[in-house]
Symmetry: C2
Subunit: 194 residues, 2 copies
């Protein structure tokens, strides 16, 4: 393994460790020394990889933004056109919940993005997080569902915001209590169904 690859590995290890700690204890309660100890590495070395704690956070947020973008332009999103909107959303949630169960960092990423979006974290990171917009994507889908007659009437944007607020809330609940069972996706999609 080349030196560069080593470094990249180490970088990822730091990112994942920081993600876990930020979500478990909160950004401000997580000290650089905590992350360093958990990786593990010396405090000083952390700054060899990330120039500041805030940059580390911002890098995580960038990852989150990428991930979210992938969701709304990847192959799964292409399938959107082919199946009824309600089916698509149920399938999407099913996948999200089961994927997150296997890869807990996905949970953590959801939670982190939510926390950053709301504030309680540095400005820089918040700006970065603003780049993601699942609301519009789903709103389009909801409008399609309304035409198909499978979704209830109402402002698609507002419905979309409610939908995502619920998903976000539930992901956060699940992140807090790892034992919590995933809800039936139909429960959530019901929000949209007449």
């Amino acid at each position: 393994m080349t030196r560069k690859e080593q470094k990249e590995e180490r970088r990822k290890a730091i990112l994942m460790t920081a993600l876990t700690l930020f979500v478990e204890k909160g950004y401000y309660d997580t000290k650089i020394t905590d992350i360093a100890a958990a990786v593990p590495m010396s405090t000083g070395l952390m700054f060899h990889y990330f120039e500041s704690k805030e940059v580390l956070l911002t890098e995580l947020v960038k990852m989150g933004v990428e991930g979210t973008k992938a969701l709304s332009s990847g192959p799964a999103a292409q399938a959107m056109a082919d199946i009824p909107a309600d089916q698509y959303l149920k399938g999407f949630l099913q996948q999200l919940f089961s994927y997150a169960k296997e890869q807990p960092w996905v949970f953590n990423m959801f939670v982190l993005m939510g926390q950053v979006r709301r504030s309680g974290m540095p400005e820089e990171a918040r700006k970065e997080a603003a780049a993601v917009n699942s609301i519009d994507f789903t709103a389009t889908l909801i409008a399609k569902g309304q035409k198909e007659g499978v979704f209830r009437a109402g402002d698609p944007i507002l419905l979309s915001r409610c939908f995502w607020a619920s998903v976000q809330g539930i992901m956060e609940e699940m992140a807090m209590d790892k034992e919590m069972e995933a809800p039936d996706p139909r429960w959530i999609v019901s929000i949209l169904i007449p």
Copy 2:
């Protein structure tokens, strides 16, 4: 107005100012000097009223806990027995949304309690917030609704958590965007309906 009453007024002013700032900028980004300037009063005087920033936060959380307890034991809660569970929940949400529109601190309190519950804030406050448990209250209500045949089958606790996660998420969304219209309560209650 007596001296004691004056003090009590001032105390409340500080609490409300802090609540707004904590929610707008986050607990850690809100400096004692910010709160002092907004009240307004000198920095030093803050400590005449609250012995520390953390105590101030904890007092707010105590208020939130009281408020939530009131919701689940007040006269409205008594009405629970008399009307169908779905009707009751819709009415409850309707009241919550319209009340919060008039009294924005209610929004803020919701958001603060959520943030504290999840972490990202001092331990002491989190412990205090743990005292509130709307989940169980609503779970009982949901079980009742299931007997009445108006709610879908499923673990009442899990359904209750999903219900509250949605409400929490939506309240946070509304707190972030004051322009946002309140959703139709029926959308949310749909989570529980077969």
